[in-house]
Symmetry: C2
Subunit: 316 residues, 2 copies
Amino acid sequence: MAMKALIGALLVTSALTGVALAQAEPVKIGVSIPAATHGWTGGLNWHAQEAEKRIEALHPNVDIVLVTADGPADQASDLEDLVSVHQIDALVVLPFESEPLTEPVKQVKESGAFITVVDRGLSEPGIEDVYVAGNNTELGRISAQYMKSRLKEGDNIVILRGIPTVIDTERFDAFIAELEGSGIKVLDDEFANWNRDDGFEVMQDFLSRFPDIDAVWAQDDDIALGVIEAVKQAGRDKDLFIVGGAGMKDIIKGVMDGDPLVPVDVLYPPAMIATAMDVTVAKFTSNGPVQGRYVLGAPLVTQENAEQYYFPDSPF
Amino acid sequence: MAMKALIGALLVTSALTGVALAQAEPVKIGVSIPAATHGWTGGLNWHAQEAEKRIEALHPNVDIVLVTADGPADQASDLEDLVSVHQIDALVVLPFESEPLTEPVKQVKESGAFITVVDRGLSEPGIEDVYVAGNNTELGRISAQYMKSRLKEGDNIVILRGIPTVIDTERFDAFIAELEGSGIKVLDDEFANWNRDDGFEVMQDFLSRFPDIDAVWAQDDDIALGVIEAVKQAGRDKDLFIVGGAGMKDIIKGVMDGDPLVPVDVLYPPAMIATAMDVTVAKFTSNGPVQGRYVLGAPLVTQENAEQYYFPDSPF
């Protein structure tokens, strides 16, 4: 576009936006998330900041107040401030834990604010207006489908699980159910706590116990990093492949580059906070209804589509 | 805001937007919906047009192509044109019927376009990237909860159903399940085909057969209009109340005005097409992922919250 045409377009845009601007009420949206303590929350924080910049540039009447907490008590106090100091019209919250945040979020709701809950549900139904979350069952199923597409009857896999939680159980049960009848053998499964060091240790143990492993389901990219290290140290990186989960940039880069050790990833993206913020903004700017449950898919990230999931500037 | 400050703000906005504009690729989004043949689709068309205007004003790089069809064959041909003539990057489609539109939508998908399906699912899973829909089960449950809050053991209701479809069955089963154990008696249920005239006839029959009716579940606002007429003609409008469903403006207006005959409504809004369009635009403008299932709630519309669901300029 020539500069003159661009300026012309901008002036038209400004004129149009001007009408909307003059009419649009100011809207204040509080966003409360855990601080960037590990990989996934690092990505969460980065994407929330990116969304804040993008949304505020697009909607001059929308003010985003982003606060991060070091624990449940800290987050509860953040929520109080968002109501009393900032007088927010809406809250987007990814609760540190379900139980201790249920009452504080309920109090924000009682102030009249619109409530969007992300990823971890509250302990009591009906508080939030919108729930935005990843799909753990689909993550398990899609991972097993990929295993079936690459392996044959009699092949062996090992599984590294997360932390004993509903999230982990949903992933694991769906994976096992999808694998049934395939003749692929699960040699063992152990918890690796969504942690790189634990992933390394558990995988070292698997490698010493099982001489024939064809694939590893790590179900998480932090764990996968530890697994990769253990497998390379053992010199068995030509014998197997690893399927993680989340969408960590190092893993996505490997998929993009065609790394045979990490041929795919399954999405459970920290960028879901941006989706939740978009949906919440729509409550104040759109003629479409905003409420209900928005459960994001867990698509298979392959060499063909990896680029759209790659954020090189994100810490995760 | 003073005019000078407003202009200043606009210039800043333009400068910011300018960067985005210069970088933003043009995006063409096809929206294919049934023509405005009856009440709900009338609202659908109006809200799609409103969303088109709003989205194009906000995103100068986004071009919406809205097409309406008179039947499944017509819609299939619209989809072909959207690909071959308009070369769309994404499709938002509310299929006329599931079966005959499944293959045509699949072909749009194969052209590389992003697919958002609204309200009626396709016959084959996995074609769409996003599914946006109302919640029929919740509509039934919320309606029954309201009945329980107003009626007592031994009170009588009649039910007017829609057309024998999955949608109708989901609504009806959830309503009956929620009512169980309340002691409220369902005198009879009959199909009224989501149609005002049929609603009038079925209700006339109910009124002649049952001298004591305390409430009517019409589960649809078109049917409710017919019911209201029959009840008023019979002079029994002081004896009972009616619960419809959808969010028709005449019914919402009644709720706003405190009409005791129509004290509430339950939302199943044609404006969901605008939500689907917003979500699809986010695919090209947001850092948040866009995929999965967005199932809208079916909230109870009461005198307190009715205003936010009232669109006086909509035909529905």
